[in-house]
Symmetry: C2
Subunit: 226 residues, 2 copies
Amino acid sequence: MKNPNGFHKKGTTTPIPLPTVSRLPIYLRHFTEFEKEQQLVISSKTLSEVSGIHPAQVRKDLAYLGQVGQRGIGYEVKRLAHKVRDILGLHQTWLVLLVGTGNLGMALLQYGGFVKAGFKIVAAFDVDPSKIGWELEGVKIWPLLALRQIVREKKIEIGIVAVPASQAQGVTNALVDAGIRAILNFAPCSLTVPRSIFLRNVDLSLELEHLTYFLGREVFTRTFNP
Amino acid sequence: MKNPNGFHKKGTTTPIPLPTVSRLPIYLRHFTEFEKEQQLVISSKTLSEVSGIHPAQVRKDLAYLGQVGQRGIGYEVKRLAHKVRDILGLHQTWLVLLVGTGNLGMALLQYGGFVKAGFKIVAAFDVDPSKIGWELEGVKIWPLLALRQIVREKKIEIGIVAVPASQAQGVTNALVDAGIRAILNFAPCSLTVPRSIFLRNVDLSLELEHLTYFLGREVFTRTFNP
DNA sequence: TTCTGTGAATTTATTCACAGCA
DNA sequence: TGCTGTGAATAAATTCACAGAA
């Protein structure tokens, strides 16, 4: 099989297509809900109904995880959730640092969803000298100069960039230097990183701009979760 | 030509493929940067280099906007930016309301990117009685009961949901009832809306979960901006 | 020449449709 | 029977490759 995304290095497991990888966290959320409701087994049809993803798509996606369902029965929620966490690497707690403690940074610090998903923000950084040394949500604020040291000491692998666009590239370079492996960027700009760094952009106004395309014309609609 | 996304109603303009629509705001951001730098004309190659999108893809995307480039020359930045804003419906100011004034809501209220892109949050809503009547960033906080009235009075078309997952569906129903046409959902859950409502989900921990898939294996990487 | 616009080729993703197992 | 897993069919998106305009 040819590598469906451009990312697979030979000898290193699952060539799961990128769109499937994007859908796995969505499935996982529903599994968590089903687990809460004591629903032990679900079918691709049910999962399709709650997620809006075509049932054949659901089956194909889940089949990439191996033989995870039972013909005639369905998928055992618990087993499947475990498998998806396995694939997504969510059985460990990932240590995360945050650069920028403005409003967005604060919101991220207090955002419950990260903890629930197994992410832990263990350090925050800011340029504002008046903020340094303080603690927010039990997380200490450091100057940017401390980046390299803290990353090494705490073995942090993921960085969140929540600074103004004008500072984002500089901060990113510092993160890369400090040895961060993945970056989640909230600044509304494109960043340049070495090929070895995994970068994902979340742009809030971009999402709104996408919406207005459809508002601007008469269209039929459905949910997007790209 | 067959409709490439499922959204196009006959007799109502551009059947631009969905992936292209998602890339238009990215191009637009770069145009804005080029405008700032007094760069009058750009080529698909340049745009490709800054955006990471394949040059042929850039040309194909831009060609959906009509005849926007000049063979042998390139694209006139100003003209093209105008055209993209046209297509995305960004020449008007869109009125937006916010439900939930917790940390995320606050961050969104103060987020400069929206204003820059032509969005204006003109009302905020919360269930917490102690917050009602106060102003944040010049935006008054209303009780949820006032939703319908405010939406009609101010002719608001877009709603942002920034409440806990447990309340999100209820709030969404209220927004739909009140006559909102598009919803940007930040709650980590899937929402059900009528087909006539345009819904877009932004899930912060989902983004991180996507990242860890790649961190968990040895892969070559590049930027994602899905 | 340079660089767009675009058919054709290719790759990738989705959906169909059914064999096979409980 | 009900439902998964999966080849085959279809649809869509991307990339190639080149004609044609400046």
